[in-house]
Amino acid sequence: MKTIGILLLDSFRMLRSQKLFWLVLGISGFVALAYVSIGFDDTGYSVFFGLWRFENELLRGGEEMARVFYLLLFTNWIVPMWLSFVAIVLALISCGPIVPEFVREGSIDFFLSKPPRRSVMFLGKFLGSLLFVFLQIALFSLIVFLGFGFRFGEWNFTIFWAIPVLVLVFALVYVVHVFVAVWSGSTVFGLLAAFVVWALAAMGEWGERIVYEFAYLTPRMGKQLDFASPGGWVDVEPREDAGPGWVSVYKAVNALRTPLPKTRGMTLQLKTLIKVNGSSGGGGLAGKDTLSLMFELPSRPHEREAMRRFETRHPLWLDAVTSVAFAGFFLFLATVIFCRKDY
């Protein structure tokens, strides 16, 4: 553990020396500040601490919807757009050289000639690389937690789920880079591989989602594609699925998706993890997660049920286990290569 601690301290020193780290931290701080600058009064809401005011019947002080809106803004916009995409791209670029520099001749000799085992050294370096994202998201989550608490008097600790989930999302992509980098010693090759796998994973998830919509969602909502109609869709009698053909296609696509890392899926799972606390009298919303709140939107019960089944089709545990297994597999391979290689 002492070795891991020493390597983490070194990683922290490395981060402190990187301009990109401070730049991303600064942008994260600004986005977080912009988020907490949103306020509500009797007539509506304001942004940038009252600089711009907007009148709104639903989004105003005292309305439950305002609280829900505030939380949805975090889970549906800031997390997918900034924390799980742009910040991760920048973190990958920033952390990209860590492993190739580590295994370079002259540098690796310093580490391997010390008493700790190779595997401990390697895992310490890997964990240290995760610090970049960990610190960014921890700061962001803390600001959001405090903003939400002071704004609504509700200390919502579920916001901190963002930290492990988004660090895992980063690790899913980063571990591919580490595997390729330790094998090839190339930063560029490693990053390229990471982005390719990330893109493949995203395509797998989007593909599965689209096929599911055709195979299950639209039949359950009582919709059918009809190019002759003005909107492209016509209402029909709700059905369980679109038939054996679509179901078979879906099963095949879903089987392809299963072993891939669930970068998007895990991000979406945050919606089920972050709940409206209700500690200060959340009324009908107390204890509900932000995903459930979205199911309130369709008016007809069978549509709401179809939406619920659609959004919860992948249990959190399954996405988490398969993603962790993916990361673990590549980390194991990278560790084996690192431990067996002559430098």
Partner: protein
């Protein structure tokens, strides 16, 4: 504590592609001496040191380092190592590099801090200790590298090209430091191309050629056969006298008469003959083969 610092036998390393870097090295390095490992490029010197420090895994290796089987990580707590062309994280200061090494080597924090200050002073880096390594010259990096290698108070110090990039004053400091380490009872194992540097400090050497040890032993023993005395006259030695000396088995070159061997007895006879002819004796010198000569002879006059 009587065992050798290093006792190696049958050390072989075959890299992928069937390149045989080491072909059954056997080596013994007694404790408390400065030991030089010499060899042309590609002879396997760095490979051997990397095997000792677990950076490279040998194909076969028998023997011990400080009484423990080679390849054991725990023994590295008692070993210091300065890699060839050492690279330390550019974002760390010199002091932090030594701290880092102390931490990884398992030196207790308090002892590490104390050693850090002592060593930075010892290698002449106290004034630059809080500058980032990225701003150091190559010589400064080597000095910091040496400090980090010594932070765990090692019994065995392995130095791979320690004077690489170091200026003449720095080399002198390095030599003095090696002698100091030996005087403290440590064993110093040096890989270097600079034969002149090694000759000044080494007690024993091994010469590698194409992955094999072609010569090893104490420097005095290895060069004993080549020891000779030279009697230098003030002027050219007359031809008939030179012929007489040659007939007696001595070497004559201008004003010098060479007497091979360690026995100074025959030298007295040469001096007597020269004095009887009223020749002025300008000096008597003890000569022996230089390390460079020994090296070139061992590797077949090849390149260093």
């Amino acid at each position: 504590m009587d065992e050798a610092a290093l006792e190696l036998s049958r050390v072989r390393k075959i890299y992928r592609g069937r390149v045989e870097a080491l072909r059954g090295i056997s080596l013994e390095v007694p404790r408390g001496m400065i030991f030089g490992l010499l060899g042309p490029n590609g002879a396997g010197k760095s490979t051997l040191v990397k095997i000792l420090t677990t950076i490279i895994r040998p194909t076969t290796c028998e023997g011990t380092m400080l009484g423990r089987p080679v390849g054991r990580k725990d023994v590295l707590r008692r070993v210091g190592y300065l890699p060839e062309s050492a690279r330390f994280p550019g974002y760390l200061t010199g002091r932090q590099v030594v701290d880092y090494a102390a931490g990884l080597a398992g030196v207790p924090a308090g002892r590490g801090r104390q050693r850090n200050a002592e060593l930075l002073d010892l290698v002449g880096m106290s004034e630059s200790r809080d500058r980032r390594v990225g701003t150091y010259s190559k010589g400064m990096v080597q000095r910091i590298g040496l400090a980090q290698a010594l932070v765990n108070d090692p019994e065995l110090v392995l130095l791979d090209e320690p004077t690489d990039g170091v200026d003449p004053a720095g080399r002198r400091d390095m030599r003095n430091l090696l002698v100091k380490l030996r005087d403290e009872g440590r064993t110093v194992f040096v890989n270097s191309h600079l034969l002149g540097e090694l000759e000044m400090v080494c007690d024993a050497v091994a010469i590698l050629k194409e992955g094999r040890v072609v010569k090893q032993g104490r420097l005095d023993d290895l060069t004993a056969a080549s020891r000779r005395y030279e009697v230098e006259a003030a002027g050219e030695i007359p031809a008939e006298l030179a012929a007489r000396f040659r007939a007696d088995g001595f070497e004559v070159d201008g004003a010098r008469v060479g007497v091979r061997g360690e026995d100074p007895g025959p030298v007295q006879g040469v001096i007597d003959v020269l004095r009887s002819r009223r020749a002025v004796i300008a000096g008597v010198h003890v000569k022996r083969q230089s390390l460079e000569d020994l090296f070139l002879e061992s590797v077949g006059g090849g390149r260093e």
